[in-house]
């Protein structure tokens, strides 16, 4: 069939096919749509290289930074510059700062609890209550009870039991059971 086409028609047809293919590629790359989850039936990691990076870069436009490996201190590796720039994918808003601060308090409260240092816990709790006046996850009350249990577990037992019964979604419930309700 194609052998019968005049040369011009063949050329036009070829050009049309090529343009359609280009358009399809541009369309698929230009949407910036996030990739869908990989099939749960296919657990092998598919190759994801340059093509994915292109899409990701579109979703999260990078801005150049100056980080290079030769800024490493106290290390001994090669000093190859990092070719791919990195960029923050979110601004540091007050809400980010608030979350970060709360996580910091939780980390420090956990360390103080691990050391059984109730005095340090109370200092941290004062800051926690002052800065984070809402406490939707009952973390402040929970750590307060844990501090109480370190100091006088018998006296704190009733409030611990109340917390354990009521605050079913609290991530401190386990520690309160251990520290306050399972007394030797």
């Amino acid at each position: 069939m194609s052998a019968r086409l005049p040369g011009l028609r063949r050329a036009l047809l070829g050009l049309t096919v090529a343009l359609a293919a280009c358009a399809a590629i541009i369309t698929s790359m230009g949407t910036g749509e996030p990739r869908g989850p990989r099939s749960v039936a296919s657990r092998e990691r598919p190759p994801r290289a340059k093509q994915d990076a292109t899409i990701e870069a579109r979703v999260h436009p990078p801005t150049p930074t100056v980080q290079t490996r030769n800024e490493t201190r106290a290390s001994t590796g090669p000093t190859l510059p990092r070719e791919t720039p990195r960029a923050p994918s979110h601004p540091t808003t007050p809400e980010h700062a608030r979350i970060q601060h709360e996580l910091g308090l939780i980390r420090q409260l956990s360390d103080a609890y691990d050391r059984q240092d109730s005095a340090a816990m109370r200092v941290l709790l004062a800051e926690y209550r002052h800065v984070h006046q809402d406490d939707p996850h009952a973390m402040q009350a929970g750590y307060e009870i844990l501090a109480d249990c370190i100091e006088d577990p018998e006296a704190a037992r009733a409030e611990a039991q109340q917390y354990y019964t009521v605050e079913r979604a609290s991530t401190l419930r386990r520690l309160i059971r251990r520290s306050c309700l399972e007394l030797d």
Binding site: P34, R35, G36, P37, R38, V40, R43, E44, R45, P46, R48, A49, D52, A53, I55, E56, A57, V59, H60, P62, T65, Q67, T72, R73, A74, S75, T76, G77, R82, E83, P85, R86, A87, P88, S89, H90, P91, T92, T93, H96, I99, Q100, E102, L103, G104, I106, R107, Q108, S110, D114, R115, P136, H137, M139, R168, A169, S170, T171, R173, R174
Partner: protein, 416 residues
């Protein structure tokens, strides 16, 4: 709380261990009533009591609305991770919701990026709670979740989420880690006490790991913005002291984490600061979560912290048979540990180790005990090497909990 773009990924064809698990796709019925896990963490621990291995864990009770994504063992001695969904219709909670979670699970248990969760897979139960929403997120959804493209933070009604957890789970179920997956493809994620990620985004799997790094492990972002900083902060994976790392990771300096994030050192730029803060590795999960490159794994400093956080919750031994105390001569002593691949057991008679890494069982009849009274001890301990744990003497950043990674059980036997 979100992430920076990373370099082009080099792929790995390593098959996830999840490939052996039940797929849990939309065509399958949810398994809430049976408690059968979607990810069968017990598949390679099928050994029964007779062979000395751990017994098959009973079904994990995630409540009537729950699906056991990972049944690792008894909730009283496991990290219990609970994932709610928001913006899923009655049909979608059986399909899309579970697919979103499964998508995240593949990377969670990847043999490089997912470590140490893969090694400690039998230490963490995961329940998915099927919350039906009448509308979509940012609309009339059950947990009121939404987000915005400016901050890129997701938000949910925490009270509603907590109430949903309380309503859904058995009273005795203790939640250690809680999250909501949003039925949306926006880049909205939040690493807070209630961790949030957008399940339909193409990088949701990385987001779930990264935000867990914040919300459950209190790790810092290791990427930069445009700030100059000088203060030593509280996160273990960021420091203002590049030479000594303020004691945070000086023991890791020079270590090559391969496969993984490569050299551990002090790399300028971290915690949104281009100057004055250093991170432990060039790249990592807390720097760039995108793609499948090995250097998007958690670096050695973060991995160690994550291990400490697990040990904060669990102890090595689930049960012992017979109970500690006096036992008849000829008894067989059994220690059921969380995972024999991770936890070794040394057996000692009268304080002399007679069987190092001797397995879960010790037969007194074969021990050649002389007449008299003997003390038999089993010391169960995490066999993590120097590639995983270096701070073993306590201290901040959860390191006090390393002491919980070993446990000794004692019996007394009198031989006539």
């Amino acid at each position: 709380m979100a992430e920076s773009t990373g370099e082009a990924a080099t792929s790995s064809s390593t098959e996830s261990p999840s490939s052996e698990a039940s797929p849990g796709t939309s065509t399958e019925a949810p398994q809430e009533s049976t408690g059968e896990p979607m990810g069968d963490t017990s598949s390679d621990s099928e050994a029964s009591d007779e062979s000395g291995g751990p017994p098959e864990p009973p079904p994990l009770d995630c409540g009537p609305q729950g699906v056991a994504i990972e049944n690792a063992g008894p909730p009283e001695n496991r990290v219990n991770y609970v994932i709610l969904g928001d913006g899923y219709s009655a049909e979608e909670v059986d399909t899309t919701f579970l697919e979103h979670i499964e998508f995240a699970m593949v990377k969670r248990f990847d043999d490089v990026i997912g470590e140490p969760y893969l090694r400690y897979r039998k230490f963490v139960n995961i329940c998915a709670i099927q919350i039906v929403s009448e509308g979509s997120i940012c609309g009339n959804s059950a947990l009121g979740c939404c987000g915005d493209d400016q901050s890129r933070l997701a938000t949910c009604d925490s009270q509603a989420a907590n109430q949903a957890i309380a309503n859904a789970l058995p009273e005795t179920f203790e939640v250690d880690w809680k999250a909501v997956v949003l039925n949306g493809d926006s880049w909205w994620n939040t690493g807070s006490v209630l961790m949030l990620w957008s399940g339909a985004h193409g990088d949701a799997d990385g987001a779930a790991l990264h935000e867990g790094g914040h919300g459950f492990h209190q790790l810092a972002d290791e990427y930069t913005s445009n700030s100059t900083c000088s203060r030593e902060e509280w996160e273990v994976n960021s420091t203002a002291d590049p030479d000594q790392t303020a004691g945070k990771w000086d023991l890791w300096l020079g270590y090559e984490q391969l496969p993984g994030t490569g050299e551990q050192g002090s790399f300028l730029g971290s915690r949104y600061c281009t100057q004055g803060q250093w991170r432990p590795s060039d790249n990592s999960m807390m720097n760039s979560l995108f793609g499948d490159a090995d250097d998007t794994a958690f670096n050695a400093v973060s991995r160690e912290k994550m291990i400490m956080d697990i040990w904060r919750i669990v102890t090595p031994v689930d049960a012992v048979e017979p109970p500690e105390g006096d036992v008849p001569a000829g008894s067989t002593l059994t220690v059921h540990v969380i995972d024999p691949e991770v936890i070794d057991v040394d057996w000692a008679v009268d304080d002399t180790v007679v069987s190092e890494d001797g397995g879960s069982r010790f037969d007194l009849a074969d021990a050649g005990l002389s007449s008299g009274t003997h003390t038999i001890t089993a010391r169960a301990y995490d066999n993590a090497g120097e590639d995983l744990v270096r701070y073993r003497d306590g201290g901040e950043h959860g390191r006090e909990n390393w002491s919980r990674s070993q446990q000794t059980v004692t019996w007394t036997v009198t031989v006539p």
